[in-house]
């Protein structure tokens, strides 16, 4: 039998259950939140402390062949963040691309307990599962890249929508994935001959389908399979001036369907060129405010070192040319691409400063906190360890005003940020960093402290300096066990791998094996991953078709 404990006297922020700072007792037994403990329970004194569900990150890059390539090619990043081994705790290094054990500990040290790895080429998912084994404490899920998959493009070209659906279900089931990710749909396939798509209606070479068709088909497949999370979209034209028009057109194309727009800060740019680079946060926020089918995470920029890692190969080539930094490119057969470029965001660089401001504008202008989530698109906008700093920016307008004095002055004239007075409440922070992402992911047992929820709990000190508060939880509990106390990891344990079981929609056609082996370089039978190969799997059933 597992541990029983009672957290008493704490101010509880559990927005999913309508609890907003009331003093409540939280009872835990066998790793779950319960009404009351049946036997003697350990008491955790939380008087004058804030109790929240463990954090949930809906979009981060912490493990994949791409992330590991970034680690391997950035030894300079690993002279920071040295973590020594202790009994039961492994050593680690790293700042923007930390080693695996360090990644688990660093998230835990902010009170986060669940994270979603946001981009995985199917053929590399086996690698990702192996890396996840070495990311302790956290529960993790994997989004599978599909927006440039040549089988999907082929089926679309032939108008075979049922085949698209069956193939998507087969991929998720074979790989133990959590959801569908699209990155620059159509554009990455174009990159395989050195090109990109310019608009939603450009035709992809040879396959003759458009980004718009890909978006609609995968959204339809996702909804008709009843997957818990909507399609998770890195839209076309990331990072490019005036891309906000493509962003609006993309959201409009999927009007009425559930949609998660990833790192929308990188897609909210105006200006005809880099000289005229400006914010279109108002336009984007207005659209999202009027369309409840859309959720988004921000991809907030943090000043300092970043490593950009994305399947968006053509964008990374542009960034390599712009920044003249080193460039890693790995195109993946049949499926997708991958590019990595180190980058430094500077306060006095007007593009970087406006990017920073756009993220904050979006946070402050999107009114419904249940539809906007905290992310840096780690490590693309900066490392996740800066979430507490972002929380302070959102909760403290005086701190924002101080920052505005430091950054490039064009932020004052070219964005609405100086005029925005909104300050997030603790409850709203609990929504954007836990309750909201869990709901958007369809994780019913995460992101809240109601009866039956996983006992993933973060207890923070009350501190007017919100960065200090969220950087230094007093205690973190994962599955009912204390994993962090007084800032130190005290009980490393294995986290779970969350994966979705899609509904049965029929086997792949008999000729699929031949096609697979014609274009891939591995045997068809060697592609699927056995659930036995995943040490702590937790299956999440798909829901009804929408």
């Amino acid at each position: 039998m597992g541990r029983s404990l009672k957290i008493v006297g704490g101010e509880v922020y559990d927005p999913a259950n309508g609890v907003n700072g009331a003093v409540r007792e939280i009872c835990v037994q066998d790793g779950k939140i319960v009404e009351s403990c049946t036997g003697a329970a350990e008491i955790i004194e939380a008087r004058n402390l804030v109790v929240m569900p463990g954090g949930v990150d809906i979009h981060t890059h912490i493990a994949s062949p791409a992330v590991n390539a970034a680690r391997g090619f950035r030894p300079e990043d690993h002279r920071h963040g040295l973590m020594s081994k202790r009994p039961g705790i492994r050593s680690g290094v790293g700042f923007t691309v930390p080693s695996t054990f360090a990644t688990g500990y660093l998230y835990t040290k902010m009170g986060y307990t669940t994270v979603m790895e946001a981009a995985n080429a199917p053929i590399g998912v086996r690698h990702t599962h192996e890396e996840l084994i070495d990311i302790p404490i956290l529960d993790k899920g994997i989004y599978v890249l599909m927006g440039n998959n040549e089988f999907i493009l082929k089926y679309l070209k032939a108008g075979e929508m049922e085949k698209v659906k069956r193939y998507v279900a087969w991929l998720i089931r074979s790989l133990k994935g959590y959801g569908i990710k699209l990155v620059n749909p159509g554009g990455v396939e174009q990159w395989k001959y050195g090109k990109d798509v310019e608009s939603l209606d450009d035709k992809v070479y040879y396959f003759d389908v458009t980004p718009r068709q890909i978006l609609k088909a995968l959204s339809w497949a996702n909804e008709s399979l009843g997957l818990p999370h909507p399609i998770h979209l890195h839209a076309n034209r990331l990072g490019i001036p005036n891309n906000y028009l493509t962003t609006l057109e993309t959201m409009h194309a999927l009007d009425g369907s559930r949609l998660h727009m990833a790192h929308i800060q990188f897609h909210s740019y105006g200006g005809e060129n880099w000289g005229g680079f400006c914010s279109k946060a108002v336009e984007i926020a207005e659209y999202i405010n009027a369309h409840p089918n859309v959720t988004t995470d921000i991809g907030q920029v943090v000043f300092g070192d970043a490593t950009t890692i994305t399947a968006d190969g053509p964008w990374q080539y542009r960034l390599y040319k712009l920044s003249k930094n080193k460039w890693y490119n790995q195109d993946i057969e049949v499926e997708t691409g991958c590019g990595i470029v180190p980058y430094v965001y500077r306060e006095k660089n007007y593009v970087n400063a406006i990017q920073w401001a756009i993220g904050l504008e979006l946070f402050l202008l999107i009114r419904d906190p249940w539809r906007v989530f905290l992310s840096t698109d780690h490590p693309n906008g900066g490392p996740f360890i800066f979430y507490p700093w972002i929380i302070k920016l959102l909760m403290d307008k005086t701190f924002r005003a101080e920052m505005l004095k430091r950054v490039h002055k064009r932020v004052l004239s070219d964005t609405t940020l100086p005029k925005l007075d909104r300050e997030y409440t603790l409850s709203e922070i609990a929504i954007i960093s836990r309750a909201g992402p869990a709901r958007a992911l369809g994780l019913q047992h995460k992101g809240h402290l109601g009866i039956g929820a996983d006992a993933d709990i973060a207890i923070y000190p009350k501190d007017d300096d919100r960065e200090q508060m969220f950087e230094h939880p007093v205690c973190v509990i994962k599955d009912g066990e204390t994993v962090l106390q007084e800032g130190e990891i005290v009980g490393s344990r294995d986290g779970k791998t969350l994966f979705v079981i899609p509904p049965e929609v029929g086997e792949m056609d008999p000729e699929f094996k031949t096609e697979f082996e014609n274009y891939y370089t591995i045997e068809y039978e060697n592609f699927p991953i056995d659930v036995e190969d995943i040490p702590n799997p937790e299956a999440i059933p798909a829901g009804a078709a929408r």
Binding site: N68, P75, G88, T100
Partner: protein, 448 residues
């Protein structure tokens, strides 16, 4: 019905992954009769030999040359490692991912230096990628798209025999339906090799001129004219012709081998090569990739990178990982006589290293974990035989383009797997560090 004596138990195992090299063919068919491998289909001569001769030359468990049990060997190994002040863990290519994972855990535990055979092979390639990056792709992209393939300082015909037919020369793919007819293949090397026979053109260059040639090609690519009539023993006009072929290809790839990494210039040769191929992307799609892999050496670089942040030459003596090729790389640690104990796993260090390094290894307590006898096991203090990964032990191996594949266990072995041996050594060392009372280490609890 009772089984009659003499009835053969026959198994045919399909989709078997070959553990020999970085081509990592996963289409082998292995016939097993009464627990012995009788036939291997689809494998090249190297892969076939690996399976067919796996019963030959087995190592035996022993301590200081005297027969011992596996248990005694594991105790002796743990004692050596727990006492060592500056140990080395090395080898790790011809094994599978889970054993590699455990070897790093052991290094973390005892504060060891950990390095693998990349260090004396493609480490300069890794350093070059750290310097400038790389424009690359998986082998399937080459199969489906490449219309120009250049093999430079490598010899796939002999070292990676099925690479040409599966991926790069005769392979047929989406935009290369005619295979070889849809591709131009060029071989560049200091002497003709069997690879030249499958190439449309062979360019023979002077030894140690690679850096100069890549630099000249970069200059020509940028539109500069060169004063010399020739570079690397080849006329400038011939280089101009090659460059035109590269620029006018739709999808080109340059594969390189140890002819570049282990000759004069080392990682700078690769930096020049990678910069050239990156810059070619202004004109067309151009990629480059190393011909990696004895065994699963790529897997070791992968797991070492995710656990420690660095791909080779890692030192844990301060309690956290540090990386410094030239200081923590195996050649330097041994040449400087710095390490005081060594665990050599799944590689023959003594057989491959220069005399001075081998001499230091002989002078310190050394543990050899290997399925087979080798020059290393002959002189090791402790020899622990294991089940051969990919044949008698399952696991995972990485292809040269970082794609992981499952390796199957096709026959049994009387010996434990590499992974199991390492797990038992770790448990023993942990017990010793806890005061020798064998109590399990407390997970995490002890702070400060």
């Amino acid at each position: 019905m009772a089984e009659s004596v003499g009835v053969k138990e026959v198994k045919v195992i399909e989709g078997v992954t070959c553990p020999f090299c970085g081509v990592t063919c996963d289409d082998l068919v292995v016939h097993v009769e009464n627990g012995k491998i009788k036939e291997v289909k689809n494998a090249c001569v190297l892969g076939k030999d690996t399976f067919m001769h796996h019963l030959e030359g087995w190592a035996t468990p022993r301590i200081q040359g005297k027969p011992a049990t596996i248990d005694q060997c594991i105790d002796a190994a743990a004692e050596i490692l727990a006492k060592a002040k500056y140990p080395l863990i090395y080898g790790l290519d011809s094994t599978e991912l889970q054993a590699q994972r455990k070897s790093i855990e052991l290094a973390d535990l005892i504060g060891a230096n950990i390095d693998h055979t990349s260090s004396v092979c493609h480490a300069p390639s890794l350093q070059a990628v750290q310097t400038v990056g790389i424009s690359s792709c998986t082998v399937g992209e080459v199969k489906n798209r490449a219309d120009l393939v250049i093999f430079w300082g490598c010899n796939p015909a002999e070292a990676h025999p099925r690479h040409p037919s599966r991926y790069s020369v005769t392979a047929k793919g989406l935009f290369t339906p005619k295979g070889k007819k849809d591709r131009m293949v060029i071989h560049v090397d200091v002497r003709p090799t069997p690879t030249a026979r499958m190439a449309d053109a062979f360019i023979q260059i002077k030894p140690n001129s690679d850096y100069e040639i890549f630099s000249a090609l970069r200059a020509l690519l940028k539109g500069h004219e060169l004063d010399q009539a020739e570079v690397g023993g080849v006329a400038i006009d011939e280089w101009k012709t090659l460059l035109e072929k590269m620029k006018s290809s739709k999808f080109g790839i340059l594969y390189w081998g140890m002819g570049l990494t282990m000759t004069r210039g080392k990682y700078l040769n690769i930096v020049a090569l990678l910069t050239l191929t990156q810059e070619l992307n202004r004109f067309t799609k151009f990629q480059a990739a190393p011909m990696r892999g004895h065994g699963n050496v790529v897997g070791m670089a992968q797991v070492l990178t995710w656990q420690t942040g660095f791909p080779f030459a890692v030192n844990m003596s301060r309690g956290y990982p540090r990386f410094n090729p030239g200081e923590y790389s195996v050649a330097d640690l041994l040449a400087h006589g710095e390490v005081d104990a060594a665990l050599i796993l799944a590689a023959d260090a003594i057989g491959n290293f220069p005399a001075k390094m081998a001499e230091h290894l002989r002078s310190i307590p050394m543990i050899a974990v290997d399925p087979k006898e080798s020059e290393t096991t002959k002189v090791a203090t402790v020899v622990i035989p294991t089940a051969q990964a990919g044949i008698a032990a399952g696991g995972m191996a990485y292809r040269m383009d970082h794609i992981p594949l499952v390796m199957k266990k096709v026959v049994d072995s009387p010996y434990p797997s590499d992974r199991e041996v390492l797990e038992r050594i770790i448990a023993k060392v942990v017990a010793m560090k806890n005061g020798g009372n064998g109590a399990p280490v407390r997970a995490g609890g002890a702070r400060g």
